[in-house]
């Protein structure tokens, strides 16, 4: 027989609330957050990447340096002058074209690199060594221009690729 005392009715939690609570807990665990943790939270801040460097200024600097070296060699006259004069003329045209291209897009940067290349660059005394140094210069420059070709605009890519091709021919001439 019933004792007449009524049973308390169980607290009814809506199913939707249970699901939302379970989902939130799962999301926190998945994200690596423990809402009951007492350890301090570490906040990771990603540093802003530096602005991309325009390869043109480096390519101009390289061309200027190599041009000075070729000019020093040409100044010696003789065989060196005969072999290197056409190559010097090519490199001068490269420098002009590179400066013109930089001025088209970045007049300020172009102004900073427009000073004529002056000074002397030490070169070896032996003719064969001079040619080897200039051949190495052409090889290094070819790598730089080749690498830069993949990251620039289409218009610039044509210019840099053409110069890279020319530098390969310089290496052929210098054997």
């Amino acid at each position: 027989m019933m004792d007449g005392v009524s049973q308390p009715s169980p607290i009814r939690v809506p199913r939707r609330a249970v699901l939302i609570g379970a989902g939130s807990a799962a999301a926190l665990v998945t994200a690596g957050c423990n809402p009951f943790s007492t350890t301090k939270t570490t906040r990771t801040v990603t540093a802003t990447a530096p602005p991309p460097v325009d390869p043109m200024t480096n390519l101009i600097a390289t061309t200027q340096l190599h041009l000075l070296r070729i000019e020093s060699a040409v100044a010696r006259g003789g065989t060196l002058a005969k072999t290197l004069t056409p190559l010097r003329d090519d490199r001068r045209k490269h420098l002009d074209a590179l400066r013109k291209e930089l001025a088209r897009t970045s007049p300020d940067a172009a102004a900073a690199t427009s000073a004529p290349a002056t000074g002397t660059v030490p070169i070896p005394t032996e003719t064969a060594s001079v040619l080897a140094v200039i051949r190495d210069d052409a090889g290094n420059a070819q790598v730089q221009f080749t690498d830069a070709t993949s990251t620039v605009s289409r218009y610039r890519a044509r210019l840099l690729a053409s110069i890279a091709g020319c530098l390969a021919t310089h290496r052929t001439v210098l054997g």
């Binding site: 190559l87 070709t149 289409r154 690729a161 053409s162 110069i163």
Partner: protein, 186 residues
């Protein structure tokens, strides 16, 4: 052959069929492909690749003539023809992979000048390589895909070096051009 924009017009042009037969492909491979082919090409890049392919086809055809009229340099001409064959086959495959049908080679090509001796044969070889450099430079400027640019730059560089080799042989000075592939540079 008429070159679509943006590449300059090559000087070798297709002649009417039945003028002569196209040389048989060689199994010799001197240049390995440097990059994996792209699975798609936009219209500009595909058009430029077709021009480069046409340039390779005309080079393969014309080098047989160079070798015949310049027997002293027949081996050089043969090596260069093989190199063009490898690049032709590779360019064709790249177009196919990108679901672009590669244009077929013409049976023969119109020469810019008649070839009658070694001197004119060497001049033809120089024309072939100038055209070829221009065609590959066109590909470089047709795409933002760095892998395709690198591939095209390799084609341009090879053509420029071969041009210098022929200038040396023909004793033409200067041996180099400042901007290979650009109009008016040679």
């Amino acid at each position: 052959m008429t070159a679509p924009s943006p590449t300059p017009s090559p000087q070798l042009s297709e002649s009417s069929p039945a003028a002569s037969g196209s040389p048989a492909p060689s199994a010799v491979a001197t240049l390995a492909p440097t990059t994996a082919p792209a699975t798609s090409l936009d219209k500009t890049a595909a058009a430029a690749m077709q021009v480069a392919l046409a340039s390779e086809n005309s080079a393969v055809w014309a080098y047989s003539l160079v070798a015949a009229f310049d027997p002293d340099n027949a081996d050089t001409a043969s090596d260069m023809r093989d190199a063009h064959m490898v690049r032709r086959d590779d360019a064709s495959e790249r177009l196919t992979v990108a679901k672009v049908k590669p244009n077929a080679a013409a049976p023969a090509y119109k020469l810019p000048k008649p070839v009658t001796d070694a001197k004119s044969a060497r001049a033809l070889a120089m024309t072939i390589e100038s055209d070829n450099a221009a065609a590959w430079l066109g590909v470089v400027g047709s795409t933002d895909d760095s892998a395709l640019r690198s591939y095209a730059l390799a084609g341009l560089t090879d053509a420029a070096v071969r041009l210098t080799t022929w200038k040396k042989i023909a004793k033409v000075n200067p041996l180099t051009v400042p901007f290979p592939g650009q109009q008016g540079s040679d």
